[in-house]
């Protein structure tokens, strides 16, 4: 697992935990549901080794539990922007490198 994926997972777990807690406080879910969701996340989290698996996990989460839909949308959007930024920076770096050569 690369650092980027590992970092994303950590950030994701933080965000998902907050969503579960908020949903519990707002009584959108009960403790049994929270237990089921938490168990699902913990079990699946350990099986993620690459980005594709992470994306599958996100899709599964979104499909299974409504409480995550808006969080996951913004998470994915943010990650996409970040990824694009990295790609742009890489491209600029490459251009600069070519230019210096």
């Amino acid at each position: 697992m690369n650092d980027f994926v590992s970092l994303r997972i950590k950030k994701l777990i933080d965000g998902l935990t907050k969503v579960i807690i908020d949903a519990l406080i707002a009584e959108d879910i009960d403790q049994d549901e929270a237990a089921e969701i938490a168990l699902f996340i913990l079990e699946r989290k350990n099986a993620i080794t690459n980005e594709d698996e992470l994306n599958n996990f996100l899709n599964d989460l979104k499909n299974r539990y409504f409480i995550f839909s808006s969080f996951l949308d913004s998470f994915e959007k943010e990650e996409k922007i970040k990824k694009e930024d990295i790609q742009k920076i890489e491209a600029i770096k490459n251009q600069l490198l070519k230019f210096t050569q």
Binding site: I13, D14, L16, T17, K18, I20, I21, L24, I25, A26, E27, Q31, A34, A35, I37, A38, L39, I41, L42
Partner: protein, 597 residues
């Protein structure tokens, strides 16, 4: 300060304030959620999830001890820690507390780990449960109820297997989290505390005459004791002597002083002598007083002082007793009595609640085992139930087939007679036999009597051509009212048809008897339908001409005409039977013709 004016702005502000969604108060959340939030806020999101998922124990050993002390101890709080003190050793309360504490700690350790760390106390609790469970009885005990030689090995293996199941662990986690919530408080704890506060306040206001009387009596007894102690002091006699000397000297001094006053007027030359006497008496008094100040008399003085203080108290109490008879005081005393009774009741309830709470905690491993086994065996039980149902259905189907065969055979034979046709035996409707059976049906015993007669015994049924199994199937159910209803009705409608086909007629009484009974109406309805079927069948087999020929037998009126004229007009089942009766004489001939073909 001027009153606040409710201006439109203020009203708007109030309305907006009311409409704002209230913040969910954190203190109302279950402790598990609180702990999960705490872990999350400390940057331990995974731990928080593990708590929520039931994978780790959310409570520390201190949390657990705290909630047990709070709910199982009746002792005062330790002012340093604010926690209740442990119950007194050697009391049932302490035994309960210790037992609960042991099992709770074992569960906590079990939940803290990954479910593989099994404390022996927890294992013992499970063994205790399975040893009483009928599920494992044969495995653990012999026919005489004695433990088998491998009891320990097997029971331990079962307990360990159970304790290693994730689902079992989850159940324990759930029960543990619910029942050992550090915020949990027994309902009667606060009730008792509140009553105690009220009683304290009332007691401060109430003047109890009996209590005061008792206090006065007590103080008087103490005073008496002091006085006795004074007289029993070894220096008391000396003290009395000195007091007597002092009193005498003081009296003498007064006398001398009086004499001195008189002498100044009447006898001045005595003045010098009197002055000397006075001085001498004063000296004597000082000497006695000095002797009385000796420390050997200090005990007497101490006792006298205490006696004096007691007398003062008695005096004050007697004054207070006078005030206790006001109506306000009487009312306060009644209130106090009521509160004391309430407290007594609440304390008893609290003890009961403590016992229940301890039992609920101690029972967690067994309850979890029961729940787990019920869940695990639930699927198997359903499967076996379905299988049993299928088997029962099959058995039922087999029985039903036998019954159907039996009914089929009986319906072919009952109310009919044997007739040979080219060496072949056929059974044709017989009016006499059918009538005999119908007469039975018209008896008050109805269908039951009819069935009793037809299915009297195995031999009777075999005579009707049934096999032994078929006869047994009928005999086994002949007392079942549902069976009697269906079996009897099926046979009766065939017999009725046979009777009518054989040219039988129903009397007016017969028709009314049938029409009055529920089963009779059903037979009539079925008979009517059957008649229609038979009629259509005969018509299709023999042609319309035959029926027409039969119709002519009816005094020149065709059945068609008759039906046209009367069918729609005649309502009611009895009329239909009359119709049966009218056409029936021709039927045997048709049937004979039919059988001959």
């Amino acid at each position: 300060m001027a009153d606040v004016q409710i201006t439109p702005e203020v009203a708007k502000g109030l309305a907006v304030g009311l409409l704002e969604s209230p913040q969910v108060p954190k203190q109302n959340l279950p402790s598990l959620v609180d702990r999960a939030i705490e872990a999350y806020q400390n940057g331990q999101a995974v731990k928080s999830l593990e708590m929520l998922a039931g994978l780790i124990c959310p409570y520390t050993a201190e949390d657990v001890k705290g909630v047990l002390l709070e709910n199982l101890s009746s002792q005062e709080r330790d002012p340093r820690t604010g926690q209740k003190k442990e119950p007194i050793k050697g009391t049932p309360e302490r035994d309960r507390y210790d037992k609960t504490q042991t099992i709770t700690e074992a569960m906590r350790v079990y939940l803290e780990g990954d479910g593989q760390n099994i404390p022996k106390e927890l294992q013992s609790a499970i063994i205790d449960y399975i040893s009483r469970s009928p599920l494992y009885r044969d495995l653990l005990f012999d026919d005489q109820g004695q433990k088998r030689s491998d009891y320990d090995q097997i029971s331990q293996a079962i307990a360990q297997t159970l304790l290693r199941q994730p689902q079992y662990r989850r159940i324990i986690h759930r029960l543990f989290t619910e029942r050992l919530d550090p915020k949990k408080r027994l309902d009667h704890e606060s009730i008792v505390a509140s009553l105690e506060r009220e009683i304290k306040q009332l007691e401060a206001q109430v003047i109890d005459p009996q209590k005061i009387e008792a206090e006065i009596a007590q103080k008087k007894a103490q005073l008496n004791q002091k006085n006795i102690a004074i007289t029993q002091d070894p220096n008391y006699q000396d003290y009395l002597d000195l007091i007597a000397q002092l009193e005498k000297a003081q009296d003498d001094l007064i006398t001398f002083q009086e004499m001195y006053k008189q002498a100044r007027i009447n006898n001045p030359h005595q003045l010098q002598q009197l002055t000397q006497d006075i001085s001498s008496k004063k000296e004597e008094i000082r000497n006695i007083q000095s002797k009385l100040s000796d420390p050997r008399f200090s005990n007497i003085y101490q006792l006298q002082q205490e006696a004096s203080s007691l007398q003062e108290s008695i005096k004050s109490l007697e004054q207070l007793k006078q005030q206790a008879n006001t109506s306000e005081q009487r009312q306060l005393r009644v209130q106090l009595q009521e509160k004391l009774l309430e407290l007594q009741e609440a304390q008893a309830q609290l003890i009961a609640e403590r016992i229940r709470y301890a039992s609920d905690i101690i029972a967690i491993p067994a309850e979890a085992a029961k729940e787990f086994l019920n869940e695990a065996l639930g699927a198997a039980a359903t499967h076996y139930k379905e299988e049993a149902k299928k088997a029962a259905e099959k058995e039922e189907a087999d029985k039903r087939r036998l019954e159907e065969q039996a009914i089929e055979k009986l319906s072919r034979r009952l109310g009919r007679k044997e007739k040979r046709k080219g060496g072949e035996i056929v059974w044709v409707p017989d009016r006499k036999q059918a009538r005999r059976l119908l007469t039975l049906l018209f008896q008050p015993s109805g269908l039951q009597g009819f069935v009793e007669e037809v299915a009297k015994d195995e031999i009777t049924l075999i005579r009707y051509g049934l096999t032994k199994d078929e006869a047994q199937a009928i005999l086994a159910r002949k007392n079942n009212p549902d069976f009697v209803g269906t079996f009897g009705q099926n046979l009766a409608k065939k017999i009725l048809c046979d009777y009518l086909l054989a040219g039988g007629r129903l009397s007016r009484d017969d028709i009314f008897a049938l029409a009055d009974a529920e089963w009779g109406r059903s037979i009539i309805e079925d008979g009517r339908n059957l008649y229609e079927e038979q009629r259509k069948f005969l018509q299709s087999q023999l042609g319309k001409g035959v029926l027409k020929a039969l119709d002519e037998l009816r005094g020149g009126k065709t059945t068609g005409e008759w039906l046209k004229g009367n069918w729609l007009k005649i309502s009611g089942i009895i009329a239909l039977f009359i119709l049966f009766g009218l056409i029936s004489p021709a039927i045997p001939a048709i049937l004979e013709f039919f059988y001959r073909r």
